[in-house]
């Protein structure tokens, strides 16, 4: 899940100008959140980056509009209705409607829309929230303002669109194992900020963790501590009590979103017993997710990482399957 800057960086290698389509409204359900973007390269065959739906007819129609508006050199708010006659006849149309703001933007560093979004992304990467407020002029031309304080995020006129750029959720992976490496790749693709900590230089290498945002070698409990905040998940895949106990003593008392540990039921119970002996309350110990991961049955590192990543998404979304039965598993 690349952010705005990463998407544009991917396009700049080949494109000078793109149509930027932003999902600004939806009726009848939308698989993507408002603010989702699809970039359409120039020339009728230009590259496509991002999406405003889950593919299919909606994105295809947005691409057509993008080609048209690139040629016309102007912005337009368009509505795409999923009312294809054939699909309706087959009972396959969902009947949804999507509003999109589609505008040509240049990638040469001078475009104010690009500058606004990049500024917001930079704020979010620095750990702050940012809001981009888009208003449409009488001629349909959008203008944008970036706010770092939501109380200042306002707009004139009767219609405006507000996009929030929050810092990415942090995932602290304790243990530079193969499972940790696979999880780092998956979590980064899911838009998380990935921090890997380990005490062993030989394992925690850039070669093994190319996608990690931070790769930290030292005393794991000390390295992880600064990241304990709301929205952070802590996943222990070291399978070694020397790191697990010091980390868990702090993380289970910290205001983090999720703490999980790769372990079988018996080992997980033993760790819980030690933590209670150390003075952690029943409620604090109960925050520990172990076994970790949704029970999809895989045993390879990538499969285990997939099950953990799926659980992290379920926890973020508050889904009931977020807590796994405390039996069996890894």
């Amino acid at each position: 899940m690349a952010d705005f800057r990463e998407q544009l960086d991917a396009l700049r290698a080949t494109e000078r100008r793109v149509a930027m389509a932003t999902l600004v409204g939806a009726r009848g359900g939308s698989p993507r959140p408002l603010g989702a973007k699809l970039f359409v390269g120039e020339g009728g065959g230009g590259r496509l980056v991002g999406s405003v739906s889950i593919g299919g007819c909606v994105d295809a129609r947005v691409v057509e509009h993008g080609d048209r508006l690139l040629r016309a050199g102007r912005a337009e708010r368009v509505t795409v209705k999923v009312d294809d006659a054939e699909a309706l006849e087959l009972g396959l149309a969902c009947g949804a409607e999507f509003d999109l703001l589609i505008e040509p933007v240049s990638l040469d560093g001078t475009d104010p829309a690009v500058a606004a979004y990049e500024s917001a992304v930079d704020l979010s990467r620095s750990g702050r929230e940012a809001w981009v407020v888009t208003t449409l002029g009488a001629d349909g031309t959008p203008t944008r303002r970036v706010h770092a304080d939501r109380h200042e995020a306002s707009a004139g006129g009767t219609e405006f669109f507000v996009e929030r750029f929050a810092p990415a959720d942090a995932l602290v992976i304790v243990g530079a194992s193969d499972v940790g490496a696979a999880l780092a790749r998956l979590a980064r693709a899911l838009g998380m900020r990935v921090i890997v900590v380990d005490g062993r230089e030989r394992y925690a290498t850039r070669e093994r963790f190319a996608s990690a945002d931070e790769l930290l070698v030292g005393m794991p409990a000390e390295l992880a501590r600064p990241y304990y905040r709301d929205g952070t998940s802590v996943v222990l895949v070291s399978h070694d009590y020397k790191y697990e106990l010091p980390i868990l003593r702090e993380a289970l008392r910290a205001p983090v979103r999720f703490v999980g540990m790769l372990a079988g039921r018996k080992r997980g119970d033993a760790v819980r017993a030690l933590l209670k002996e150390d003075g952690l309350s029943d409620a604090e110990v109960a925050r520990l997710h172990s076994p970790i991961g949704l029970d999809i049955g895989g045993r390879e590192p990538e499969e285990i990482a997939l099950s953990i990543a799926a659980q992290l998404v379920a926890v973020r979304e508050g889904k009931p399957l977020a807590r796994r039965a405390q039996e069996g598993g890894r």
Binding site: E201, M219, P220, D240, K242, E277
Partner: protein
Amino acid sequence: MSLPYGATVLEHFRHPRNQRPLDQPTAAHEGYNPLCGDRVRLEVRVEAGAIRAAAFTANACAICTASASLLTERVTGALVADVLALRESEVVAALDTEVPPARTACAVLPLRALRAALVGHSAPA
């Protein structure tokens, strides 16, 4: 929790002495075992050629943690010269258990970290 290393190791692993950051240390060193990942930081406050306070921080196994705990108890109040003369076999013996050869590195890691911390402190201040 049962450990195969006896009561002393278990006691000092579960209830380590002097496991905390030291206030105003005059010397410190973090030792680590690149194979198993044990990490232990020894901190001392040296005054007039003697160790007035010693403490440690560890993300380490039971043997290493217990060894650090025992070591900080032993060296508090001792002359730096005497501490530097400590033999590794003495530290291992203090664990009061049979330490397998493969785990000797864990047992002596705190002493080696302490020696490294004390470089430059061997003469009375």
